[in-house]
Every structure is written in C-alpha cells, then in structure tokens.
C-alpha cells in the first residue's frame, strides 16, 4: 500500500532535480522551467496531504500555487524577452552587471 511518505519522498526528489536545473542550466528559459518543476513537487505534497488528511485545503492551496506560477511564468518570460532583445543571449552567467 502506498503511504504518505512515498509521495513526500517523490516530491522531495523532484524538487531536488528542479534545484539542479536552477543551479546549473545556462539558459534562462530552462531555469524558469526548473522552477515550475519545483512548484509542481510542492503541489504534489499538498495534494498528498489533502488526500491523506482528508481536507480540501491542500487542493485549494494548489489552486493558488497555480495562479502564482502562471503569474511568475508570464512575468519571467516577458523579462527574458526584453533581456534577449538587448543582449542576444539567454545565458544568466553573462548577465553580471552587479559584479564587484
């Protein structure tokens, strides 16, 4: 039988993978995707809890997470577009205006 912590561990692993993406990818779009992945890991946790504790709040929270994720993706992509316009590149490591 599947217990709660199976889901939790699964989401932890997915989250970690998303973190890898955020840390190492050198393409802003993929970094954004990895963030979406992390958000999904969290959503999975929410749903698992709401199922195993039998309360609707988890699902509602997922609803809100989705709203926030949508907003975040939209803004992020807009920023990426304008950045790409100015410097024909998507590499976050080339954007170091704040370097010492």
């Amino acid at each position: 039988m599947v217990a709660l912590h199976h889901y939790l561990i699964l989401s932890a692993v997915i989250f970690a993978i998303g973190v890898i993406g955020v840390l190492i990818r050198r393409n802003l779009i993929v970094v954004l995707m990895s963030i979406e992945l992390m958000l999904n890991a969290v959503n999975l946790t929410f749903i698992a809890f709401s199922r195993y504790l039998g309360s609707a709040d988890g699902q509602v929270s997922v609803f809100f997470v989705m709203a926030v994720a949508a907003a975040e993706a939209v803004i992020g992509l807009a920023i990426i577009i304008s950045v790409f316009r100015h410097r024909q590149s998507l590499d976050p490591q080339e954007m170091q205006l704040l370097k010492w």
């Binding site: 840390l23 170091q96 704040l98 370097k99 010492w100």
Partner: protein
Amino acid sequence: MVSPEPSSVAYDLLRWMPLIPLLASGFNLFFGRALGKQTAGALAAAAVGASFALACYVFWQLPAHGIWRDTLYTWIESGSFQVALSFQVDALTAVMLLIVTGIGFLIHLYSLGYMAHDEDRVRFFVYLNLFIFFMLLLVMGDNLLILFVGWEGVGLCSYLLIGFWHHDHNNTIAGNKAFIVNRIGDFGFILGIFVLVTELGRQGIWTLDFVELQQHVKMLEPATITLITVLLFVGAAGKSAQLPLFVWLPDAMAGPTPVSALIHAATMVTAGVYMTARLHFLFILAPATLALIAVIGAATAFFAATIALTQNDIKKVLAYSTVSQLGYMFLAVGVGAFGTAIFHVFTHAFFKACLFLGSGSVIHALGGEQDMRKMGGLKGFMPVTYWTYLVATLAIAGVPFTAGFFSKDLILWQTFSHGATGLWSIGLITAGMTTFYMFRQLFMVFHGECRVDAHAKAHLHESPAVMTLPLVILAAGSIFSGWLGAPEYLWGSRWEHWLEPVLGVSEVHHDSVSTEMIITLLTLGVVVSGFLLAFVNYRKTGAQTGSQAGGGLFYQISFNKFYVDEFYDLAIVRPFTALASFFARIIDPWVIDGTVNGVATTARRFSNIWRYLQTGNVQHYAAMFLTGALALLAYFLGQL
C-alpha cells in the same frame, strides 16, 4: 488689583486685520513687479488702511469689559497642552491696534513719496506689509506663543528693512547687529516662556493663554515668578533697546527713514512695553523684578539722553532720544504704572514718528544728507516740515498741553508718588536734557544761516503733499493725543478708566493734588532751563556746532557714546569670533570630519574585501542560498 472676569465673545472680523496686510504682501511679492511700482505701493498702503478702518470699528464696538476672540484652529496639541491660533482684542490690544495700524497707515502714505525714486520699492512695501502683519500678530495673539511668533517676525522684518539698501556693506552689518542683539534678548524671552510653561505644568496647568495664565499664576512660588519675569524682561530689553542691549537701535538708523519712524520709534521697539503690560499680572507679583526694571529704565533714559546731547547725525539724535523715551516707559512699568507706560507709548508714537518723518523729509530734501552741521536755516525752504517738527519737539520736550507733557509728567509723578525719589530725580534731569538736545537739533537744522553745500541747495524743496499730510496729522496727534490722560487737577484721565478692565486700577494716589502740581512745576522749570541752554548755545549760526574742541572729557565720552560699542567688541565679539574660528579651523576639519571620514574609510576597506563575494551571477547566489538552507535543515535534522 484684581480685574473683573472679562466676558470673551467670539468675533470673526478680527482675523482679517492681520490677514489683509499679509495677503497684500504675498500678492506684491509675486505680482508686484507686474503690477507696477506705484500701484504696488498704493495697494500696500490701502491694505494697511483697510485694517486701520477695521481697527477703528473694533475700537468703537468693543465693550468696556469685553474680550473679543477669533479662533482659527488648534495649532499645537500634545496631551493636555493645547495652543490655538487665535486672536483676542481687549482694551489694551485695541489701543495698540490703533497705534500700529494708524501710524502704520500714515507711514505707508509717507513712504509712497519718500521711496518714490527707489528702484525696488516693491520689495520695500512687501517687507513693510509683512511687518504690519507680524506686529498685529504680536498685539492680537491671545497666548504667549503667538505673541512670540509675532515678536520674532517683527525682528525679522526689522532686520530685512535695516539692511534694505544692502549694496552698502555697513547697512548689512547694522542689520546683522540688530538681529544678533535681538537674538540675545529673545533667548531670555523664550527661556522665560519655557520656565513659565513647565512650572505651571508642574502644577497641572498646561496653558499659554493669557486669560488662563492670569487665573493660575498665583499658584507659582515667588522665586519662580521672579526668575520668569527677569528672563522675560531680558527679552523686552533686547526688543526695546534697554541697557545693556540698546546698542543695535542707533545703528538701525541705517534703514530708510520711514522704517526708522515705524519700526524703531513707533511700534516694534514698544513691543517690550506691551509685553510687560500684557503680562502685568505676572510682573506685579515680582517686586524685585519691578525694581530692577525701574532702575534699568531710569538708567537707560539718562544714559541715552547724555549720548544724544552731542550727536551730529540728525537720525542718531532721534534714535538715542527714542532709547531714552523707552527708558521712561520702563521706568513707568517699574513703578507698576502699566497704564501710564502704555499711555507714553501712545503719545510717543505720535511725536516720535512725526520727528522721524520730519527728519526724513529734510534728508529727502537734501538728497540724503544726514549731518546736522551741513544743515541750518531750512525753516524758509520747508515751512510745513518746520512747523510740524517744532510741534513735535515741543511735545517731546513736555511743554504744557502737548502730549509729551501729560504722559511724561504722569510718569514722573507716578515715580515720585511711588516713593522712588532717586529715580524721579534722574527722570527729572533727563527731561531737561531731552529738551536741550531736541531744541539743539531744531536750531541746528532749521535756524541760523544755511550751511548746505551749493549743489544740494540748488534743488532744495518742500516735500510733496503725500509726505507732508502725514506730518500734519501726526503733529496734531502729538498735541491732542495726550489730552486723553490729563491729571486730576485738569479734566482728569480717560485713559486709566479705559485700560482698567485689563490692567486693573493703578494704585496711583491722586490724594495730594498740590504735591502733583508742585512736581509738575518743578519739571517745567527743568524743561525751561534746558530750553534756555539750547537757545543760548545754538540759536545763532551754530558756529561751534560739533566743534569737538569745545567741551572736555565728558564731551568726548558722550560724543563717542561711552565707547559701549568698542567695549562690546572687545569683551564679546572678538572672543566669540576667535572661538568660532578656532572651531572652524581645528575642531571641524580634524575631529569631526576625521571621525566621519575615518568611519567611512574603514567601512570601505572591509567592503573591498567582502565585495568579491558578489559575483553578480544569480546562480552563485542561488547556490549560497541553498547552502544556507541545507545547513538549517541539517541542524533541524539533528534536533529530530
């Protein structure tokens, strides 16, 4: 002397008295140039005229025991301490209103002529209106704080107007001097206010309102009251040019003559007297202070008079005589005759303004010449000025049935009847000297043969009507304004009754009319002798005028004003500037800047080390962040 509880009535008209001049001033400030110089001046004069009309109306309407209030809004409110921006008019204020707006109006008219050829007349009228506004604030404010605002405001305007012709460096110096000396006085004044508020607050009464103060000052202990009153009097001495703070007033003559007439003779310098009268309920509780005031007043009167004897600058003479007259007023205050002091303020406003304006008209005619040795025989050239000047001189000298006669004799009689015989004798001598130096001036300026140089003599002329009209009015005033306060053996004083509701019944004993008459006769004698002395010396050509050879040591001392300025310069100004320059040269650059820059430098050194953490690469930051999170997680895992 407890006054019947005055009935305070709300009355919306009052606020317009100060506001109209303020609005006119603001309007001129922004649109005056566009308006055209003549129109701007007319507007300013009209504004003051309007508030003069209001003042008359209020004066006639005001019931004997009434106080009219006009509260605009609550200005400060902290806890139970509340200060409202509100005006009040009672008998005392009404009188001051008449003086300020009336004399102010006349002097505005006069200025239209006097400043006709000046380039930035507009600025002049802006300042003048602003001064009227602040002066009205001062006399109408119903609590100490508003009075203080007006107090500072008139100080500011006086500074601005003294330095009005700022192209001449000396004028600006004179302005600064006036301002700084006033600061010293104001410092004492505001300290007095602080002490008063805090001490009353300790009793549980947080207020600055005059009426409430009058009810509650009883609960302060005498020592405190003495301290407060002394501090307040320091302020008054500063503003009203008493010893030892009188030095600014003579220099203040650097300003245009109308300014000298309005601010430095008629209104502002009497603010100190007004303040003491306004707070009489406080002062009469401090006999020690009153004694001090009386002594200082008498001393000032005498001292200034002695200086005035030998001055050759027409305005300087008047300036010192002003100081001396102010001394008289404070002498009256000192003997507890506040009503009489205000009465002298009233009469003095007329004849001193008249004198100043007359001198102004002379200076105007001579194209800026102020040295009396270069005048003389002007009688024929400018009759109106001469006759008005003569009247005013008689008035200040105290010739019977002129204003000066009534007020000054009243002061002397009060002093005598108060039992201060020494002070009375000083006053008596001063009266003689007053007569002397005034007639000396009259003779030097108007009589004898004309010593005016040819160039100026060419266009020697009587002043235009707009200037002479105020002279006439003021001259009339300097005769009849005194009749309000006639002594008992004549038709008796209206004045006392008018001010009783505010100042209470003065304790002048009109018991021995005979004594009073004797005193008066004595004064007359002194006056006449002073006149004879002047007549003998100066009636003729004024040959030895200003011949410094004549007269000995005393003459030199008097001529050099007792070296007071030099003394202050040595004792106070130089050490002060030396200290300041020391701070500026040593402390500020080395200690203060050193500290500040040192801190900054240290910070920068460290930042130069740490800033290498800032790679500007967002992923590095994320990695750091993750590391921290990992550490926290590991810690909690350990806790599990």
